[in-house]
Structures are given as structure tokens and as C-alpha cells.
């Protein structure tokens, strides 16, 4: 305890457990590390992610949140190129600003109510501060700018973690606070605009980064519907998206490393030379679009049921539009890879030990779609921790 009313509090609730378990699996897929510094910060970021997941009040959340942001920086700039360092600076600017807003919000909460509980009753202005701080991490427009800059320069496994769960910590905070302010307009705008930009982006990692912005905006959208089923879908989406997007980024890394290709437009005919990699890419893409019986469909269904039950037709339409946009920025790559003209690029499938994590995410996408046991967990999490 730091002062009367100010104490760090960790707890286990269904939402936190689901988040932490997802992190555990995702971090496992991202091993092995590329050196001592990398390995250390991989571990540190994991610890703070679990901390964020199990945080029991605003103060604990803030502390772990900020430390998480900072400890990701060395991973993002790992390659130490000019571009990477510049992106790292932009990243720090964004997350530190967001963190300051969040700090202000927490301080204001304490000043107003004398506690730092998640559900402390505060004025909309204070809630707005907290949300603004969280939005930077959650990559809502207009504070999304760090995402398309950080992802392309980071090593692919780091991008997998960033897209998978780092962005989600912002959404997690929003769920914890459970605001009455509706984020639907901003979230809807983010889904659509980020999706459209993704279609027009050629750099593969940057395209996937914009896809993350679009997809993760589903969570605040679902949250704003104020229906437990929609919220359950949003929570589940964090998990399923983490695996799918993580897998896609790992694929991108393998493609870069074993075929030397950064751009989507150069991936024509690649599937004939790297069938396993592109096969996993295809499965993951279909999952992102939400084709049954993959995991992406499960989240779409649960979110959609909640939105329909609550009569949120606009959100439902945005959900469908988001799926269409995902198809528009993923399917052309898949189609060109399998059916495109043979390219002059020489490439071959990576050795098994590099393929295993990617294949594991593809398998998870299928299994979680066919056996949606996690839906119940998400429903419990929505009921209790939301």
C-alpha cells in the first residue's frame, strides 16, 4: 500500500485468466529469442502483460500498462536500423502521451472518489481522459499512428505480439472501466477507414498492421453495444485475433526471410514454392474474414448475436463491412499466391522448426472454430469482469 486508498491489487477473474492464457500461448509461439537482450525483454513484456491482465484496480493497471509499453520499445527497435529507431521514437511519443493521459485520469479518479477501483464513479470528463489514454494503445483513430510505423520495422515475432496482445491491452482497459460513453462512432470509423487503407497498402507487414487497427476496433464497438453477448464476442475476439494475426505476422516474417519479399504485390505464385507457409496463410486469412467453421466466424457470430439482440443494427452492419474489407485486403494476396503467374523469385518453405509456430496458429484457428469451448469462458468473463 502506497497511501490510504492507493494500493496495488492483483486478482484472478475469468477475463484476466483468458487474457493471460492467450498471452502464454502467444509468447510460447514466438520463441526462440534472437539474443540475450531480445530474450530478456520477451520475458519482461510477458510478465507485464500478465500483470495488466490480472490488475485489480486502476493503479495496478496503469503501472503494468506503462511498464509494458516501455519494455516493448527495445523489441521494436531490435534491428537498430535508422528506420527502426525513428519508428521507435514515434512509438514512444504516442504511448507516453497516452500513458500521461491515463495517469491524469487515474489521479483525477483518486482525487474525486478516494479510490482507484475500476468501477469508481467518476464524471464523464474523467472517463474521457481514461478512454483517451487507452485509445492510443488500442489504436483507435485518430491516435492509431504508432501502429503502421512500428509493425513494419519490428521483427516479425515482435509484430505478432504487438498486434496480438499489446493493442488488446488498451481494449482490455476499456472493458474494465466499462464506460457509459459510447465509443461506437469512433470504433466504427476505425474499422472502416483502417480496412480501406489496408486494401491500398502494399507492404505486407504494414497491411497487416492496418488490419489489426481495423479488427481490434471491434472490441470497443462490441463494448458500446451494452449487451453481454456482444461483449463476450469482443473478449473472445481478442483471443482468436491474437492467434490469427500472430500467425499472419509470423508468416510475413518467414516470407521475408526465406523469399526476400516485403510487398504483397510481389507474392504472385509464391504458394507453389512455399506451399506450407502459404497454406497456413490461407487458413489464417479465411479465419480473419470469418468463414465458418473457423475461429473468426465464432467471434463474428457471438458479437453479431449480441448486436442483433440489442437492436444495434449500425454496429451489425459495421461488423459485416469489416469482414468484407478483410476479404478485400487478404483474399487478393491468397489468390495471387496460389493462382498467380510463377514469379522469378527463388523461395522454398522454411525448415520445420520455423514452420511449427505458424502451423500451430492455423491449427488453433481451425480447432477453436470447430470446438468453441472458449465461448463459455468469454460469456462468464463478460458477465463477471466486464
Amino acid at each position: 500500500m502506497i497511501a490510504p486508498g492507493l494500493h496495488l491489487h492483483f486478482g484472478l477473474d475469468p477475463l484476466g485468466v483468458l487474457f493471460a492464457a492467450t498471452a502464454a500461448v502467444l509468447w510460447l509461439l514466438v520463441l526462440p529469442p534472437r539474443g540475450a537482450r531480445y530474450g530478456i525483454f520477451l520475458g519482461v513484456t510477458f510478465v507485464f502483460t500478465v500483470g495488466v491482465a490480472t490488475a485489480g484496480n486502476l493503479l495496478t493497471f496503469l503501472v503494468c500498462f506503462e511498464l509494458l509499453s516501455l519494455s516493448f520499445w527495445p523489441l521494436i527497435v531490435h534491428d537498430e536500423t535508422e528506420e527502426a529507431l525513428a519508428a521507435g521514437r514515434a512509438y514512444l511519443a504516442y504511448v507516453l502521451t497516452g500513458g500521461s493521459l491515463l495517469l491524469l485520469g487515474v489521479v483525477a479518479t483518486f482525487a474525486a472518489t478516494g479510490t482507484v477501483d475500476f468501477d469508481a464513479p467518476v464524471s464523464p470528463f474523467v472517463t474521457g481522459l481514461l478512454l483517451a489514454g487507452l485509445s492510443v494503445k488500442a489504436a483507435l483513430i485518430p491516435v492509431h499512428g504508432w501502429v503502421p510505423r512500428a509493425h513494419p520495422v519490428a521483427p516479425a515475432p515482435v509484430s505478432a505480439l504487438l498486434s496480438g496482445l499489446m493493442v488488446a491491452t488498451g481494449s482490455l482497459g476499456m472493458i474494465r472501466i466499462a464506460p457509459e460513453l459510447s465509443l461506437a462512432p469512433i470504433a466504427a470509423l476505425t474499422v472502416v477507414v483502417a480496412g480501406v487503407v489496408a486494401i491500398r497498402t502494399d507492404d505486407l507487414k504494414r497491411r497487416l498492421a492496418w488490419s489489426t487497427i481495423s479488427q481490434m476496433a471491434y472490441v470497443p464497438l462490441a463494448l458500446s453495444v451494452l449487451h453481454p453477448e456482444a461483449l463476450a464476442g469482443g473478449i473472445l475476439h481478442i483471443t482468436h485475433h491474437a492467434f490469427m494475426k500472430g500467425g499472419l505476422f509470423l508468416c510475413a516474417g518467414l516470407i521475408l526471410h526465406h523469399a526476400g519479399i516485403r510487398q504483397a504485390s510481389r507474392m504472385a505464385g509464391l504458394a507453389r514454392q512455399m506451399p506450407w507457409t502459404m497454406g497456413a496463410f490461407t487458413v489464417l486469412s479465411l479465419g480473419m474474414i470469418g468463414i465458418p467453421p473457423l475461429s473468426g466466424f465464432v467471434t463474428k457470430w457471438v458479437m453479431g448475436s449480441g448486436m442483433a439482440a440489442a437492436g444495434a443494427w449500425f454496429s451489425l452492419a459495421v461488423l459485416m463491412l469489416g469482414a468484407l474489407l478483410a476479404a478485400l485486403y487478404l483474399m487478393p494476396i491468397v489468390h495471387a499466391a496460389w493462382f498467380g503467374p510463377r514469379s522469378e523469385v527463388v523461395a522454398e518453405d522454411p525448415p520445420i522448426r520455423h514452420l511449427v509456430p505458424v502451423l500451430a496458429t492455423a491449427v488453433l484457428t481451425v480447432v477453436l472454430g470447430l470446438l468453441p469451448r472458449l465461448v463459455e469462458v468469454a460469456r462468464v468473463a463478460a458477465g463477471a469482469g466486464g
Binding site: 486494401i199 491500398r200 474474414i289 468463414i291 465458418p292 467453421p293 465464432v298 463474428k300 457470430w301 457471438v302 453479431g304 448475436s305 448486436m307 442483433a308 439482440a309 437492436g311 451489425l316 452492419a317 459485416m320 469482414a323 468484407l324 476479404a327 483474399m331 489468390h335 493462382f339 470447430l370 470446438l371 468453441p372 469451448r373 465461448v375
Partner: protein, 445 residues
């Protein structure tokens, strides 16, 4: 139909499922035999087998979630079936996107329905896309017209019936009458302007789907199986002609009745069943529908039936009649396949409806001869003509330019000319569709 729960696939069998599955199964047997005549090809047989599983999954689905799963699978497999045709790559891509958007609309409809609200419009549009119902029929002529003939037989014969199956399950009400009759008339009219036999059959499918949906509204399902068998048979016959003569352009064909007598006979059987030839039991489906209508819908249905007769005559006379030509009969396996599908059509009819159908045959023949000019002869350049003079004057310039941003055009360079052609041709015809629908609605009130 109930919604179902995630992760649990349920199946059920009732008389409707069995009816659909039976004729679908028969057609699959016939088409597979037919396709094997050109040698076993994994490119066709794999998606063919997959589509069979998907179709059976749709018909035997016990809840909407299971149905949706197999429905989407069918959309993807159809892509693989269509793209093997000559110059069918872009038609296949268009098919894929149409099915994807249709699937999203359908999913939205299922979600709305699950929450207790009225999702009928969304469900109708979602299923209607797959069925080739007006006004979401636009993908059909390109996809079925360009796909290889055995694939078209499966697509037009069975796969669009999955959409119809869904529509029957959701029971949409009187919208079906308008959309059905409108589609029946419009499809027949467009079919009469075609010089490509496969495209003609594809537009005929649009028309027949309209007839079927009118039947669904009237409570009669008899024409569904008839159309499935007849259309599959006709596509297979055209495919045999394509194999032996190398073309499906009607202006270039003719006089093959002597050279390919068996194919000719089977095509007459198929076309006759479609047109409602009085001697066949299969025509009873259409008779039932006719009996259930009265007033303006009955007149519209009569006109559509005449249109069907005209279309069948156009096709058969274009390919088989006329001055004698050289050629060889289709390979034995193809004939066997067609024979399998033709078997159910051979049952003799009941005498009740001779007068009605006799009348349609007379008027239809007159219609065929009167609209001969609609389907132009070959221009000097040798290029096959596109759809004939049922092209209204093009939309004025500003309306013609699709709201596609210049940047998007740069991104997808082959999109621009396609968009222009699409708006020029289709835009005007869409206006015609709209007028028909409005007129039908206004007159039916």
C-alpha cells in the same frame, strides 16, 4: 428453421430434404460420368466431389448455422468449378465476391432472425443471390456461361437450388410473386438476345428460377426437379456440341441433328421438359403453378412460358436444325451421363393440361420467329457479338460513371474498362428490371 448452436452440427431428414437430395444425387451421377468422358481431371473432380458434399450438407442441415456453413463452402467450391472454363477467370473471381457479399447479407439475416426481429428481407436477398433471383442475379450469366459445361450443369442444375431451398425454408411471402414473375419475364427476354448457347442457357436459368419462385409462392415445388434435370441435360448437350464442333456460338452452328442424333434427341427431351411439352410428366410442375395463379399474374406467367418455349426453340433450332452439317456423335460416356439425367423426364404426362401447353407452344413458336433479329448474325469482324438489341440507349455520361475513385482504378487497372462496360450494358438493363418490378408491384396492388 431453428438457429442452432455454435460447434454443434445438426442434420435432419424430411420430405423436402429428400426431394432435393434425390434429384441432386441423380444429376451428380450423370454429370460425373459425363465429365469422365474427357478423361479424369482432378481440377474438376475434386471441387465436384466437394460441392456434392456441400450440397448434401445444405439439404440435410438441421439448423441455420449448419446450413450456413455448407452454403459458404459451396460458394468457395463454385469458384473452383467456374474458373476452369475458357476465359472464365474473371467470371470466377466475380462469382467469389458475389457469393462472399451474399454470404454476409445472409449471415446478417440469420443473426437478425435469431434475435427475434424480422430478418426476412436480408435472408431472402442472401439466399436469393445464390439462387439467381432478381435483382441479385447479375453474376449468373457470366459464371454459368463461361464455366466448363459439366460445371455449368452442376451450377445451374443443383447449386442454385440450394438458394431456392433456403428461400422455401424461410417462407418470405408475396415478395416472391413479384420477384419470380419479373425474373421469369426478364430472363427469357435476355435469353432471346444471346448468340452464345451457354449464356443463353444461363439467362434461361434466371428465367426458370423466377418460374420456380412463383411456384414456391403458389405452393408448388414440382418445377424444381424438372428444371434441374432439364437444365443439366441441356448444358451437357451443349457441351457435347462444343466438344465436337469447337464452338457454342449459335450463328456458327446448325444442322447437327443428323450428325449427333442422340444428343439431339436428349436435348429435345430436356428442352421440351423445360418448355412444358404436353407429353411429359415433368411438365406437370408448370401446370400446377399455372393453376394457382389468376388475373395479371396468370397472364404474366403465360407470357413467361411462351418466352421459355421461344428460348428452347432458339437454342435447339440454332444448334441442330438447318442445313445438314458434318460431325460425330458425342462420346459414349457423355451420352451415358446425359441419359442418366434424362431418365426421370421420360415419364408420360397426364392429359389434363394439353390445351394450355399447346397454346404456349403455338405462341412461343411465333415469338421465336418474331424475335429472330434480336440475336444478331456474325458481324464481319468475326468477333462474337455480345447481347443483342435489347440494349436501351446508354445512360447519360454523368450517370454512367460509376462512383469508383480514380485511385481505386489505378490500384486495380483492369477494373476500369470492366466497370465501364458493366455500367453501359448492365446499367441500362437494370433500369429495365426496375421498371418491370415497379409495374408489377403497381399492378398487383
Amino acid at each position: 428453421m431453428e438457429i442452432g448452436t455454435l460447434g454443434h452440427f445438426t442434420f435432419q431428414v424430411d420430405s423436402l430434404s429428400l426431394h432435393f437430395a434425390t434429384f441432386a444425387g441423380l444429376i451428380w451421377v450423370g454429370v460425373t460420368l459425363y465429365a469422365l468422358a474427357s478423361g479424369p481431371s482432378r481440377r474438376f473432380l475434386l471441387p465436384c466431389a466437394g460441392a456434392f458434399v456441400a450440397v448434401m450438407g445444405v439439404f440435410f442441415a438441421g439448423d441455420l448455422l449448419t446450413l450456413f456453413l455448407f452454403f459458404e463452402a459451396l460458394g468457395i467450391l463454385g469458384f473452383f468449378l467456374v474458373r476452369e472454363g475458357k476465359e472464365a477467370r474473371s467470371a470466377a473471381i466475380r462469382y467469389f465476391w458475389t457469393m462472399l457479399v451474399g454470404g454476409l447479407v445472409l449471415l446478417a439475416g440469420i443473426l437478425v432472425h435469431a434475435s427475434g426481429d424480422d430478418g426476412t428481407l436480408l435472408l431472402l436477398l442472401g439466399f436469393g443471390v445464390k439462387a439467381g433471383m432478381l435483382p441479385v442475379h447479375g453474376w449468373l450469366p457470366a459464371a454459368h456461361g463461361k464455366a466448363p459445361p459439366p460445371a455449368s450443369a452442376l451450377l445451374s442444375g443443383v447449386m442454385i437450388k440450394t438458394g431456392i431451398y433456403g428461400i422455401i425454408r424461410i417462407d418470405p411471402g408475396s415478395a416472391l410473386l413479384v420477384l419470380g414473375l419479373g425474373g421469369a419475364l426478364y430472363g427469357a427476354a435476355r435469353a432471346l438476345t444471346q448468340s452464345d448457347a451457354k449464356r443463353l442457357l444461363a439467362w434461361s436459368s434466371v428465367s426458370q428460377v423466377g418460374v420456380i419462385l412463383t411456384g414456391v409462392w403458389a405452393g408448388s415445388l414440382g418445377h424444381i426437379a424438372t428444371h434441374a434435370w432439364a437444365k443439366a441435360l441441356l448444358f451437357m448437350a451443349v457441351g457435347a456440341v462444343l466438344l465436337r464442333t469447337g464452338t457454342v456460338q449459335l450463328p456458327r452452328l446448325g444442322g447437327l441433328w443428323r450428325a449427333m442424333p442422340v444428343t439431339f434427341g436428349l436435348a429435345v427431351l430436356g428442352g421440351g421438359a423445360l418448355a412444358g411439352l404436353p407429353l411429359l410428366r415433368a411438365s406437370a410442375g408448370k401446370a400446377e403453378i399455372h393453376h394457382a395463379l389468376e388475373g395479371l399474374p396468370e397472364l404474366a406467367f403465360f407470357l413467361a412460358s411462351c418466352g421459355t418455349v421461344a428460348v428452347v426453340l432458339r437454342l435447339l433450332s440454332g444448334i441442330f436444325l438447318g442445313p445438314r452439317r458434318e460431325g460425330t456423335e458425342a462420346p459414349g460416356l457423355m451420352v451415358t451421363g446425359m441419359g442418366v439425367v434424362a431418365l426421370p423426364l421420360l415419364l408420360p404426362a397426364r392429359p389434363e393440361d394439353l390445351l394450355y401447353f399447346g397454346l404456349t407452344v403455338v405462341v412461343g413458336t411465333a415469338l421465336h420467329r418474331a424475335t429472330r433479329r434480336w440475336h444478331p448474325a456474325y458481324p464481319a469482324s468475326g468477333e462474337p457479338p455480345r447481347s443483342g438489341p435489347l440494349r436501351l440507349p446508354a445512360l447519360p455520361g454523368p450517370l454512367r460513371r460509376m462512383p469508383v475513385s480514380p485511385r481505386l482504378r489505378i490500384r486495380f487497372p483492369d477494373l476500369a474498362p470492366r466497370v465501364d462496360r458493366y455500367t453501359r450494358e448492365t446499367g441500362a438493363n437494370l433500369a429495365l428490371v426496375f421498371v418491370i418490378l415497379l409495374a408489377a408491384l403497381a399492378l398487383l396492388r
